[in-house]
Symmetry: C2
């Protein structure tokens, strides 16, 4: 289950907003056993959004999630960019208008459907609006070849609610049974370079998707190097996942001891 994420917004490219949406989405996908292959961040520019969408679709992921650019303002261009990439028109969608009306009613707001507000109900032809009860702009789903595209909001609360309800079940269904177990070592006295050969041997002896093994350098305290070693065992069978985790953990612990390091 391959997912790509496209985040749209100048504020993500000028140091104003930290891209916590991509981080959260990646964590969700990983927790279900899916793979986020790439995150792309582009500015609020029609051509750049459209180009990025085309490039992503050419890589044929199972799902493309976009975030941001669904609002009422002049620089909210995601749906237009997606439509342009697919050679589709943007059309005022009656269902989306009803959703806007409903979301105002639910929040007990008596808003007139001005032109600016109706912009949020203009979606690529052939796509399906998704009710957003925490904000105004509906999310949008459309199928493009083998890729399911979900255009989600940039506001984290709204994005998360729609993702959990509409995208996560598809990821879970696509991946099927999935179990992951993790162990982390904080090691004193061992650098990345020291343990690298042993870890490379471990990685080579398992299928790529069954384990995740990564060292994170944590600098030096006085002259003693500190390294975090992270091991995740993944698969469909809980017993097998555990067995693999235990076997690799044992190898790593022996290697740390051999190198004169200690786990703390």
């Amino acid at each position: 289950m391959i997912i790509e994420i496209l985040c749209v917004g100048n504020e993500l490219l000028s140091g104003i907003t930290l891209n916590s949406n991509a981080h959260w989405l990646a964590g969700q996908v990983a927790s279900a056993g899916g793979i986020v292959k790439r995150v792309t961040v582009v500015r609020d520019d029609l051509g750049e959004i459209s180009d990025a969408v085309k490039e992503i679709l050419a890589r044929n992921p199972d799902i493309l999630v976009t975030t941001g650019g669904l609002g009422a303002t002049y620089d909210d261009l995601t749906l237009e960019g997606v439509a342009m990439a697919l050679g589709k028109k943007i059309v005022l969608d009656e269902r989306a208008v009803q959703m806007l009306t409903k979301s105002y009613a639910v929040r007990k707001l008596d808003y007139e459907l001005t032109e600016a507000r109706l912009k949020m109900a203009k979606i690529p032809e052939g796509s399906t609006p998704i009710q957003n009860l925490l904000g105004s702009a509906p999310a949008v789903f459309l199928q493009a070849g083998g890729t399911k595209i979900f255009c989600l909001q940039g506001v984290p609360t709204e994005m998360k609610a729609i993702f959990e309800k509409h995208v996560m079940p598809l990821v879970k269904k696509g991946v099927g049974r999935f179990v992951a177990q993790e162990v982390n070592y904080n090691v004193m006295g061992v650098t990345e370079a020291m343990i690298a050969p042993a870890l490379a041997r471990i990685v080579e002896s398992y299928p790529r998707e069954d384990i995740y093994l990564k060292t994170h350098p944590r600098g030096y305290r006085k002259k003693t190097p500190q390294t975090r070693i992270q091991l995740i065992s993944r698969g469909k069978d809980k017993k097998e996942v555990k067995k693999r985790l235990d076997a690799i953990a044992k190898t790593i612990e022996n290697e740390i001891a051999r190198l004169g390091g200690r786990v703390c």
Copy 2:
């Protein structure tokens, strides 16, 4: 001055590590008046790194900054990926070996140059290593067509030190004189949709790079909407930048009042 950022690392695509490097880099570039056109995040995979580099170079940015994947471990593949994209070999660079030796000496570490450590001195042919005194792996500079490529570390302290010393001066020189002034309004009683038409009119009447005007929805308190309006005026002349900021600020304040909102 167009910059692209390529971040390499599975941990950025599985929700383990928040991509604070891209955020910091984007802030630095913006503060000097440069434009980050795109951020791309790929996994520790040779083909994916190489593909991303090729795609970025085809867009011909002035500078490409990569982060991560320079270390001693099996999954540190950035330099190999860059070399592959450019059809170059990876070669053991004597200057990089000296830098490794020096960085160990500076940190008073008595390390043997094992094969794993020497991996950090293997760089694309024709590129230039850059001393990293806060860690081991040198950074790498190479020119590819009109693009200056800087391969920086993933460890934030190391990446920041090299960026400030070696990349930031180029960004500043490329942009030339640059001044930015900013004002932010926290507005009660006005939604994005309400103020959108006025903001669109403002944006249309200035050259694209002279102002940055963005609304950030902040949800509702009881039934009152809250919106942050951010205005940045940019340019080469301080007086002009200030004059533009004041004029637009006045227009925005009048519009907020007209809509029955208030700044708080």
